[in-house]
């Protein structure tokens, strides 16, 4: 992992040339960002309300990243492995639920009982994603538990493609329009109602996740396995079961994220999991991989930077069409954070300090 060098970094008394270069690059980038922001703010092109809008959009997008990032980070915490198929787990929930939503919409149930439908959709999507996540674990990862760490990484990429193209084969490659839920249309103060639904959905899910991890025996087992797998096994924890639970919970949240995503963007497609998956992975690393609050904060930070960054950093320089650079900004920030804080914003946690 890119974050595996903190020790040499801190203990090395003399600065090596490469580190000097890295620090210089970091400092220059920070300078660019700072000067750009000051110039933009002094130009006064945007009103306060518009800045507020930027941040609201960022948080809405960021909370979905956060929800997916939790799945990455939990699996990493337990298995020390990046589950690259997680973006597709997210997609499979949203795609499958489209058919339920479409049916509910056409039968009129969606209009008559919007809240029941919404909860049903969330649960259904969660269950589908959960099943897929567990199957992926069972088929692509568990047989390779003892293999070198690169091997499950490769099967993860394979599983990801398999899921993408299975869904393409099953449901076609076109974009499908999600039915809009009438009660969630329009604005409440400055927020879109769908955005509020996303905030609330994410907050509740996070709270339930924390309760689950802290208050239940299964949660305790997961934490024990994350701390030290061998010791946990010796203490009588069923490691396989804890791992399956991790995948199941991560998958369930990805499914919920899928429906929330569909609420905001109103359309789904077989390829929709790829970019959010990559972004959520970035968010997880940003916040400190293996660290649950870190994943949530990383997601929000990434979403807000993507939304605010292009205007704030580049408008001052008069760069045209700066919004195209939002991915550049997002990943540059990631590099910066990794330079100055190699373990992410909140630091790596959930597992111990052992690193291979």
């Amino acid at each position: 992992m890119a974050i595996a060098t903190p020790r040499s970094f801190l203990s090395g008394r003399r600065l090596e040339a490469s580190q000097l270069i890295v620090w210089t690059i970091g400092a220059v980038l920070l300078g660019i960002v700072f000067v750009g922001s000051v110039l933009t703010l002094r130009a006064g092109q945007y009103t306060a309300a518009q800045w507020r809008d930027f941040i609201v959009f960022g948080i809405a997008q960021g909370s979905i990243y956060a929800l997916i990032a939790l799945g990455y980070t939990m699996v990493y915490g337990v298995l020390r492995m990046i589950n690259f198929a997680h973006g597709e787990v997210f997609m499979s929930g949203a795609m499958t639920t489209f058919f339920v939503a479409d049916y509910l919409n056409r039968s009129g149930f969606l209009k008559a009982h919007p809240w029941i439908s919404l909860i049903a959709l969330l649960l259904f999507s969660g269950l589908v994603s959960m099943t897929i996540a567990v199957l992926v674990e069972r088929i692509a990862y568990r047989p390779l538990r003892g293999a070198p760490r690169l091997v499950p990484l490769i099967t993860a990429v394979g599983a990801s493609f398999f899921l993408q193209y299975t869904f393409r084969g099953l449901f076609g490659s076109g974009v499908r329009a999600y039915p809009a839920i009438p009660v969630l249309q329009g604005k409440l103060w400055v927020f879109q109602k769908t955005q509020i639904a996303v905030f609330v959905g994410v907050a509740i899910t996070l709270l339930l996740l924390l309760l689950f991890l802290q208050r239940t025996r299964a949660g305790l087992a997961i934490r024990a396995v994350a701390e030290d797998r061998e010791a946990a096994a010796l203490m009588g924890v069923d490691v396989d079961r804890a791992i399956v639970t991790t995948f199941a919970v991560g998958g369930f949240m990805a499914g919920i994220a899928g429906v929330l995503y569909a609420l905001v963007f109103i359309q789904v497609q077989f390829f929709m999991g790829f970019l959010p998956g990559i972004k959520a992975f970035t968010a997880a690393v940003l916040g400190g991989i293996g660290n649950l609050p870190g994943a949530a904060i990383g997601g929000l930070v990434l979403g807000v930077i993507e939304s605010v960054g292009p205007s704030l950093f580049f408008d001052g320089y008069g760069i045209r069409a700066a919004h195209q650079l939002k991915d550049v900004i997002a990943f540059t920030i990631l590099v910066l954070i990794l330079i100055f804080r190699p373990t992410g914003i909140l630091g790596e946690r959930l597992g111990g300090e052992e690193r291979v």
Binding site: D53, F57, G174, Q192, I266, Q269, L275, V308, R320, H323
Partner: protein
């Protein structure tokens, strides 16, 4: 240990079988596809391609020579035409619609050309440069292909056309519109198109906005693709020429889903109209999200032929009502086009789903016409198609009576008879596209 040894022998065995199978399969395809002018046949100087419109079997017909090669089609072998279109993802309707145009053209020919069956093969080019490159490479590797109808999106042709050119094939695009592709400095010899050049579309769109709607402050958004960027720029230039101002020129990426930040940026300049000639799904995200932005509640939205498909309305729903779309004007086409639409409906159970079916039909027919001109039939029934002569014949196309008008090719590959209209989405009912959802409002 033992297990791995067994596995190894099994692998080895299967490899042997596969090799054996290949050995067996190899002799079947008859040799000498796209044969070079063979030195063993210096023959008569009369070996230059003898154009025979009515290939009458003559005793002395020899194989013609040609600088880039001669395709030889034995009796009983099909004439292979290919499509290179986007038939998956958000732009699938655009390519699928064109593909149907080709299929109907082949039906109209009775599936036969010069006594050979016509076989249609194809590659999905995905509406991006990578897809165009991959599809072109795969088609270039097939020596039996005579000519290609494609590509759908300009960015595919930018990288695909040089590959097709290298391979000695020729392509006629039904829907590439970027001015760049037929720019004399960048045009490659293998490339022609029957779609309009966006210099025309951008101008008509600008005239509509400034003269008809009377709007002076516009913003543009492109997605970094060749088509979108050039069309947005042509539009912006023409708006300025007509006395309007372009207050913002923004860009998104084709994979973006959250357009709210970029729209908020645009809102600070308070444009009266946003022109975003891009593709689905990015286009429909803008359509949906624009109305949510404070400051853009009353802004007019306008896009171009990339979004002229039911998907645009299906995805954006109510938000798409009032959207303006420029594109090929199909309403002024003659009775031949109406007949074509009838066949389309009979064959596919729906009205044409995008704007470039008739263009694809014309591209196919233009190619067929050129093949008829240059093909030489030997007494034994073998058909020779000289490839360079085929290209030349396509460039010589003059007053070709197509569905889309009178096609005449210029040396840069522009063959279109451009007719541009502006449509307005007035309903979300796409059941009977195009009548049920869009109507022509200009000119």
């Amino acid at each position: 240990m033992q297990r791995s040894a067994r596995l190894f022998t099994m692998l080895l065995l299967s490899l042997v079988f596969v090799l054996a199978a290949c050995q067996q399969a190899e002799p079947t395809p008859t040799p000498a596809p796209a044969a070079q002018p063979s030195p063993t046949q210096p023959a008569a100087p009369a070996a230059s391609p003898t154009p025979a419109a009515q290939p009458t079997p003559q005793a002395q017909v020899t194989k013609p020579t040609d600088p880039i090669g001669v395709l030889e089609i034995k009796p009983g072998e099909p004439i292979v035409l290919a499509w290179m279109l986007t038939v998956s993802g958000g732009t699938a309707q655009l390519g699928e619609d064109s593909k149907r145009g080709i299929e109907i053209a082949i039906d109209d020919l009775g599936g036969q050309l010069l006594g050979h069956k016509i076989e249609l093969v194809g590659e999905d080019s995905g509406c991006n440069p990578e897809g165009g490159q991959a599809a072109a490479t795969r088609l270039a590797a097939n020596p039996r292909i005579v000519a290609i109808v494609g590509s759908s999106c300009s960015s595919e042709a930018r990288v695909g056309a040089p590959i097709i050119d290298q391979a000695g094939l020729v392509m006629v695009s039904p829907s590439n519109t970027a001015p760049d592709l037929t720019d004399p400095a960048k045009h490659v010899n293998a490339y022609l198109r029957v779609a309009h050049n966006d210099k025309v579309q951008g101008r008509v769109a600008a005239e509509f906005v400034v003269n008809k709607l009377g709007l002076k402050k516009v913003a543009t958004i492109h997605d970094g693709s060749l088509y979108a960027e050039q069309l947005a720029n042509v539009f912006a230039e023409n708006v300025k020429k007509l006395g309007g101002t372009v207050v913002a020129q923004e860009a998104v990426s084709p994979d973006d889903t959250d357009m709210r930040p970029v729209l908020t940026r645009i809102a600070t300049q308070q444009p009266e109209l946003i022109y975003y000639p891009i593709f689905n799904p990015a286009g429909s995200f803008i359509t949906i999200q624009a109305k949510e932005i404070s400051g853009l509640e009353n802004v007019k939205l306008m896009s171009a032929d990339g979004l002229l498909e039911p998907q645009t309305v299906q995805n954006a729903g109510q938000a798409s009502v009032g959207l303006y779309l420029s594109g090929p004007d199909l309403t002024v086409l003659g009775p031949k086009y109406q007949e074509f639409v009838q066949k389309y409906q009979q064959k596919y159970g729906t009205k044409p789903v995008a704007g470039f079916h008739a263009h694809a039909y014309d591209a196919t027919m233009m190619i067929v016409e050129a093949i008829k001109k240059v093909a030489v039939q030997a007494p034994d029934g073998t058909l020779y198609i000289p490839r360079k002569a085929l290209r030349d014949a396509l460039y010589e196309t003059k007053n070709f009576q197509g569905l889309t008008g009178n096609l005449t090719c210029d040396p840069n590959g522009d063959c279109a008879d451009p007719k541009i209209a502006v449509y307005e989405v007035f309903s979300t009912d796409t059941g009977n596209w195009s009548d049920s959802a869009i109507r022509k409002i200009y000119p």
